[in-house]
Symmetry: C2
Subunit: 338 residues, 2 copies
């Protein structure tokens, strides 16, 4: 087995922080290192718990995000963490950092976007705090959800021979961001769809529940940092590798067209671009017929095959020139060595 | 009854946000508007849930806070919210915003302060996220705790005739901040104690549990924004007023000395300065003997009488010149009108 790659910046920082903290008590079914923490405090269910922060200039640019869209996206990225455990969302708290020099009507516009999304997904906003922020809009949501104890899906559990799937085509959010950053947004349907994927990601809660309830998946994560990084988390947690044939990667056709127009590598957008917020999961090959049938019955698009789980470690892209290790090459807040 | 004062900035913003959100489902025993939300999901207990953000330049200055102190204080202010419900803390999630240009060793130093405080208070750090932040260190903690259903204390419940108490002398944190801002910190015992009160507040968890378990308090809050604002919250939630005799206000003797030295008003520091993180509570007069005895048995300092609950609305300071309404004159992140 090849040696594990050293941890990348963000992963290394989290691992180093984790070593500082005491091991959790037994009621904590799942602590640091997955998409949510899980607590055995609510009868037959695990309580799922997550927190995510969006910061202006890092996670969103108000040149192209409206404030309601920021509120909406802040909820979506937290919902995606609950989807990535196979769970359903319940409640959220809002911690809003608002610059004193900005009209406070904007804080209410952000709140309206959050309120609308919360209503849509059946989540109750039940508290939080508001603080002055120096210059940047900042939104932190903490979210509680639940999942029946026997159904929770984790990053660990992938087995050699499992197939790797995603719930939707890859690279759209990254392509949408390229369009926005280059000032190319237009009314053309392709541009609108890609920009929408960046501005308004759709957490795959229904797909996550099907995977959990019917035990189709052996491991599950959501795509926030990109396949190269997020599938790398599954590989590390499961003690396996993954092999992705480049030729059949489920790159969004729109992304292929845009990449050709702009001279970008569509595989980079699809595998290393972040924020698709699709679910990525592994599933035994023999479950494929039932898996596809269940998604079809639910009216969901068929899962897209991405590759397979293999012995070893890390995410390897198979090209005509051979295999390349792309583990950890997705978005990383901290490209640094600890 | 005099008319209610218009809401101040932060309170008005929270009230306006609250109107945007749907009413919570029945399992939410307590939603927006108290120190924690409370959930009826954990058997005989309510689950208490809070989130608080500290931002560099707003809540702390790294010119005088060490990074471990920031981690420690981030936990303390969340613990204080749980104390203010009469509860005990259980678990926390960390969302850390760290500037890319800062040595990441500092993030670990902050984590060490958090880890040490978490161990001390018996809280498990069980997850979170780390993000790049533009220029400022930001720490958000979300905390879960619990309180037996019959014991939870709220901001509402104060009754005319109740006495108003605080668990410790007032103004020390505000005085400590004055010392730090003026560069006057010295090894003199008085300076050290005041500075310590600002840098390292002590959440009054034990006092909160005694008040809750023995049903001494009719209403309870923690002092984060100052008496003028926080007692104002109790008055508003309870539909009563409060009268505080200026001559007997429990101003810390150290604060009196410092105020005299610097030409400051000790009552302003004590009643309008924030961040003392003492508990402020109301309690029927006839319970005073049992209350004092219980605190003495627990080895806690005796509660300090601050005033009494009266008919009407708002917080009134009684001076030889007459009564002044000081409601809402504590710290406010947003001094503005909505």
């Amino acid at each position: 087995m090849p040696p594990e790659k050293p941890l990348s910046g963000e992963t290394a920082l989290i691992a180093a922080l984790q070593r500082l903290f005491e091991p959790p008590p037994p009621a904590v079914a799942l602590g640091i290192g997955d998409d949510c923490a899980a607590l055995a405090v609510a009868g037959e269910d695990f309580l799922l718990w997550t927190v995510d922060t969006l910061i202006e200039g890092v996670h969103f640019d108000l040149a192209y995000f409206s404030l309601p869209q920021v509120g909406r996206k802040a909820l979506a990225v937290n919902l995606s963490d609950v989807a990535a455990m196979g769970g359903e969302p319940l409640y959220t708290l809002l911690s809003l950092g608002w610059p004193r020099e900005r009209d406070v009507a904007g804080a209410l516009a952000l709140g309206e976007g959050l309120a609308q999304a919360a209503k849509e997904y059946g989540v109750a906003v039940i508290g939080g705090d508001t603080v002055a922020s120096p210059g940047r809009v900042m939104v932190t949501l903490s979210l509680l959800g639940r999942v029946p104890r026997g159904e929770m899906l984790r990053r660990q559990g992938a087995r050699v021979g499992d197939r790797v799937y995603v719930t939707g085509p890859l690279g759209e959010a990254a392509a949408g961001l390229e369009i926005l950053k280059r000032g190319l947004a237009s009314e053309a349907e392709m541009h609108r769809a890609l920009v929408e994927a960046h501005l308004n990601p759709r957490p795959q809660l229904q797909a996550g529940r099907i995977l959990a309830r019917q035990k189709f998946a052996t491991a599950l994560i959501d795509l926030s940092d990109g396949v190269a990084t997020d599938l790398g988390y599954i590989c590390r947690a499961s003690g396996v590798g993954a092999r992705l044939p480049a030729a059949t990667a489920p790159v969004s056709p729109r992304v292929k067209t845009l990449a050709a127009n702009l001279g970008l590598d569509p595989l980079d957008l699809a595998l290393k671009g972040g924020e698709d917020y699709q679910l990525l999961f592994t599933s035994p090959a023999e479950k494929a017929p039932a898996l596809f049938a269940a998604f079809a019955r639910a009216g969901l698009p068929a899962p897209l095959p991405l590759g397979e789980i293999v012995p070893g470690a890390g995410v390897r892209l198979a090209t005509p020139e051979g295999e390349k290790d792309i583990t950890g090459q997705g978005f990383d807040h901290f490209r640094l060595d600890l």
